[in-house]
């Protein structure tokens, strides 16, 4: 959970990059305790290893259809979830495995859905892009670019209607920001002061089109200006920067001030989906992001500088590996859905 740390400016300098987005009077020196840092590390690593395994299973033919991996972007959802409250809701696009894990959904259930098995979150009927968990406040998993944006505002509408003090985080990509319904939603969210954070995960490419070729104007965080929605640009490869920015945005929403935009500058290492050869960018570009800005490596370095024992990190690595191995075993042994599942769950039965 979020904590305001008493670390001095000197300390935070020593401890690496200060959170860039932490501006204004909110929690400038949010430097988490070590156990929080290790949890962030573990959460990001789980997504990384899970996605690597999903990529492998795809290559083996165990996962079909589209499979959009989140590798490289882990800091975004892990950072924000680490400062969210219980009951805050999340909705995202089809690049959703990381979000589900960060919400605490079971890795086995997610992986089994990817393999289209009975034990999957959607009983094998949704697949990679369509999973949900009301219990964990994860509302999908939406395959239509930007459809999740008004849905997120609708969840925020429900939070406000019920006066429950919760916030919705609606994630969208740099490709989705050009969809008309995003602006229809910005308008309504601002008019009605809905508690929703629009998290733009700017990974620089909407499928194969660089953001500079698709989006006019300057920064995506300014796309809400006409509606009076404040926006911040954040180093989305730095989980601490994400956390700090998230605290500011969440506080804004919880105070009843309406929506907020966070543009997370991030990067996906893999193609748009498994079938994308990614010819639109150079190997050097990908490598330089991986080597210089990897969110997990950066946090690992920081933990080491903080004096954490390398062996402790190895324990985490091993635990994560085990979770993924178990999830994979489950996903490969869970039976295919029964044939009669074809005709269930079309309508809720009424008396």
């Amino acid at each position: 959970m979020a904590k305001s740390s008493s670390a001095s400016a000197d300390q935070s300098k020593k401890r690496g990059r200060p959170p860039k987005a932490a501006t204004g009077k909110h929690l400038i020196n949010d430097f988490p305790e070590t156990d929080v840092l290790t949890q962030l590390y573990k959460d990001m690593l789980l997504i990384r290893r899970f996605e690597e395994k999903a990529g492998q299973l795809y290559g083996m033919g165990e996962i079909g259809g589209f499979c959009h991996l989140y590798i490289g972007q882990e800091a975004v959802v892990v950072g924000l979830q680490s400062v969210a409250e219980d009951g805050d809701s999340i909705v995202t696009s089809y690049r959703d495995h990381g979000h589900m894990l960060a919400c605490g959904m079971d890795a086995g259930g997610v992986m089994a859905e990817l393999t289209g098995r009975e034990g999957g979150y959607s009983k094998g009927k949704g697949g990679s892009m369509h999973m949900f968990s009301r219990e964990k406040n994860f509302y999908g998993g939406h395959g239509i670019v930007a459809a999740q944006v008004p849905i997120g505002a609708g969840l925020a509408f429900a939070h406000k209607y019920n006066n429950d003090g919760k916030v919705n985080m609606a994630y969208l990509g740099d490709g989705a920001v050009n969809q008309g319904q995003v602006y229809e939603t910005f308008n309504m969210a601002a008019l009605w002061k809905l508690p929703v954070i629009f998290v733009i995960e700017n990974n620089q490419y909407g499928m194969g089109t660089a953001v500079t070729r698709a989006a006019a104007g300057q920064d995506l965080c300014d796309r809400g200006k006409a509606y009076g929605i404040p926006g911040a640009q954040v180093d989305g490869m730095d989980v601490l920067a994400v956390r700090a920015a998230g605290e500011v945005a969440l506080a804004h929403c919880r105070e009843g001030k309406g929506p907020y935009i966070l543009e997370m500058k991030t990067y996906r290492y893999r193609g748009h989906s498994m079938s994308d050869p990614a010819k639109y960018r150079t190997r050097e570009e990908v490598d330089s992001m991986r080597k210089q800005h990897d969110p997990i490596d950066q946090l690992r370095d920081l933990l080491v500088r903080e004096g954490i024992d390398e062996s402790a990190l190895k324990v985490i690595d091993k635990e994560v590996k085990q979770v993924v191995t178990d999830a994979t075993d489950f996903a490969l042994t869970s039976p295919l859905p029964a044939a009669d599942e074809l005709y269930t769950d079309i309508l809720v039965e009424t008396a």
């Binding site: 849905i151 019920n162 309504m188």
Partner: protein, 459 residues
Amino acid sequence: MAIEIKMPALSPTMTEGRLAKWLVAEGDEVRSGDVIAEIETDKATMEVEAIDDGVMAKITVADGTDNVAVGTVIAHLVEDGESFDEAPAAAAVAVAEAPAAAVATPAPAAPVEAPRPAQIMAEADWDGPTKTQTVREALRDAMAEEMRQDERVFVMGEEVAEYQGAYKVTQGLLDEFSEKRVIDTPITEHGFAGLGVGAAFGDLRPVIEFMTFNFSMQAIDHIINSAAKTLYMSGGQMGCPIVFRGPNGAASRVAAQHSQCYASWYAHCPGLKVVSPWSAADAKGLLKSAIRDPNPVIFLENEVMYGQSFEVPEHDDWTVPIGKAKIVREGTDVTITAFSIMVGRALEAADALAAQGISAEVIDLRTIRPLDIDTIVASVRKTNHLVCTEEGFPFAGVSSEIAMQIMEHCFDYLDAPVERVTGKDVPMPYAENLEKLALPQIDDILTAVHKACYREGGR
């Protein structure tokens, strides 16, 4: 020479109105543009302006007169100094020149689709008191009653709150339920349909009004991809309890982009229920059921029907089940299926057929999906002839589906091929004569029945 002032048509579907108040008296001088009277339509109170300068010579329809047909002469204006000769001023003459042929009858005019309470069988399970209500009032009451019962129900759409509804269906709801639960949206169908879906995911019970279903095309992605499919895609974990409602089908003289029936579009997709009532009682009972239903429901109303009156059971917990058709007239020779406005036309056709010695059974489908095929099959087994009617286009229409299902269920009971009476396979034209040709008329039903029954007059 005296100028006749006639009852104006203040909306595309207005057939009559109430002359609420004269703001001028006989002998008063008026100038073009002066407001001379207030007229109440079924949608709103409108001001009538003088279209010429002159003196009010004679007021022929008094304050407070109800059901004044469009085109009726309501006053005479003379030029200043001119005298008014009452003799030739026969209102009936003016009425005959009324612009809309359908309303060229003296006041009080019969509505276009006159309800026929004598022929409508009462809802089988209702023998309590009833009251006369318009479809519009019945829909409003359905929403209000459900909002009183369930705090989660809210109404959202364009002009639903302060304006009291573009077609006055949500009249009075804002006053009772406040802006928290009756919400005016910007003109942004895609956005507010998606927002409604999100609110339903968040366990609220949204009633989303489209000003007309034509505009739901902007939002159809959310209706199909987000609302209809989520229950399945989530393995039954998360449904979408939402109602999308509004007028559907042809209005009057508004041409192709505002006149279309979407019943077969929405009925095509698994995961949606599609309801399209005719009578006020069904409108009320089905809308209440739709709001209570845990699934997304498309609720197709008809603008032309809003002002028509029917008997409605007086009970605030009275509902009509979704998925049950209703036999609105029993017969033995031919089955006619219809929904929404076509039910009235089918009943009129049945009257005409009775005079010809053909006994027609008329089934009001009420729900398009899930289709109550059992009721149709039982009827066809009895009559052995079937004519399916609808206002929508013929290709891949509701009638085509019924014809196919009848072949699957009771082909051997058919004595003739199934006939369809549908809208023509053209975008809706504007011109009055072409519009009439494009829409299924009573004569089209008669011709189809004659053909199905091998009677003279069939094509």
